[in-house]
Amino acid sequence: MKVKHGFFTSLKCRECGRHYPKEALHVCEFCFGPLEVDYDYDLIKTVLTRDKIESRPTTMWRYRELLPVEGEPTIGFQVGFTPLVKADRLAKRLGLREVWVKNDTVNYPTLSFKDRVVSVGLSRARELGFEIVACASTGNLANSVAANAASGGLKSYVFIPADLETGKVLGSLVYGTNVIGIRGTYDEVNRLCSEIAGKYGWAFVNVNIRPYYAEGSKAMGYEIAEQLGWRLPDHVVVPMAGGSLITKIHKSFKEFVKLGLVEEHDYHIHGAQAEGCAPIVNAMKAGTDIIKPVSKPQTIVKSLAIGNPADGFYSIQTMKQTSGWAENPNDDEVVAGIKLLAETEGIFAETAGGVTVAATKRLVEGGRIKPQESLVLCITGHGLKTQEAVSGKCGEPRVIGPHLHEFLALLDRKN
């Protein structure tokens, strides 16, 4: 028997506070503000304890009272609880004492943090009676929707800019989904999807299912706090595209404090974007919360190339409220960041990970992160998906015949 619980109560407009029923709605009819899931924290506090969480399977669903699904999740039950890696060698290179890498490059099943949001979004879409699911994506989300829809027996459509990396296109096609490539930027894909979502009764995870979907990102923050031994770090560096993840990391920490699961602690959340598409960083550095959209993103970091970030305003609020900062490294720094993480910690991150590492370097050099302070880097996707970015920049294999003397000669040459 399915037990429905009342931990999440309604949808609520972030701007004007109006309440809405728990349906496939995402925009306040009155003021256009984004709708967000509202919870009964008093009720959650009576049932959710550290012991209870620790007794559950090591997936993101161990925090299920804080995720907006009414019954049991039906899609993506194995997602999350990725390693939090103590990154001592990277710390040394950065000149810091305590650095951790939250490694979502090995998230299940599609190697990016998007499996978190999709697990929640599709489970909720099914509860709401949808049979066709869809998304607008820069790649990772498409991969995750395609894979999770396949495993859940749902039909799916994914809409992507037509010029994405080969790995990300193939990484959707293989699941038998309908891949629609759009000749245009992500923002143009997004606008089209908003029109399609209005016309057909499909569950677009990041349009009409967005309030539920977006909550899945909180699990990354909960896991960081639990894996640090139920404490909050001094600093977190988060990549920003639409800007949702950074706001949800902040929300997850605030919720854990509110529920008494961790002690209150001053933390700083910093945002990272690539120089060629940095509307949120530019606004932060200019001291404004008005985001000037980038109409033609130009960067190798396609997964973050969103010119008109829907959560940009709230990202700025997150960084301001936590006295964080923002950085926008260029593509060369991004490649160097990918290599630094790989060479020091054995973690091959996609371009967004390179942005995070490179931005961290700038934050340390700029004195925003002090040597004795603790830091967590959110590494959100696997490098095998964006091989083009580093192809030809990591050297080439040295080819010899299968003869010992050739190998010895090669060693001699090197020395």
């Binding site: 925009v27 009819e29 503000g33 994506s137 908003s194 008109n308 959560d311």
Partner: protein
């Protein structure tokens, strides 16, 4: 001068389900006033108490965000197309 204004789903209850309506005026401000006259209540949904466009209301004049032209003072000419679009999420 008449222009076409594309109305997003959340506002169509006010425009009797029409997804495109006509309005007249020399600037975006005039257009908003013209819409309000035809469909009372619409202005309150687009603008806050101070009369400024709400944060999550995006207004495009021929695909150009008016915040990067002259905001509500942006001039409008015959045959222009105006779209009102809510912000949406990343992916």
């Amino acid at each position: 001068m008449p222009v076409n204004v594309r109305i997003p789903t959340p506002l169509r209850k006010l425009t009797k389900d029409k997804d495109t309506v006509q309005a007249t005026g020399a600037t975006i401000q005039d257009i908003i006033d013209s819409l309000e006259k035809q469909y009372p209540g619409l202005k309150e949904r687009l603008c806050d108490e101070r009369g400024e466009l709400r944060r999550f209301v995006n207004v495009y004049l021929n695909d150009e965000d008016i915040r990067f032209a002259q905001g509500k003072g942006t001039p409008v000419k015959d045959g222009d197309e105006i779209s009102v679009i809510p912000a949406i999420a990343g992916g």
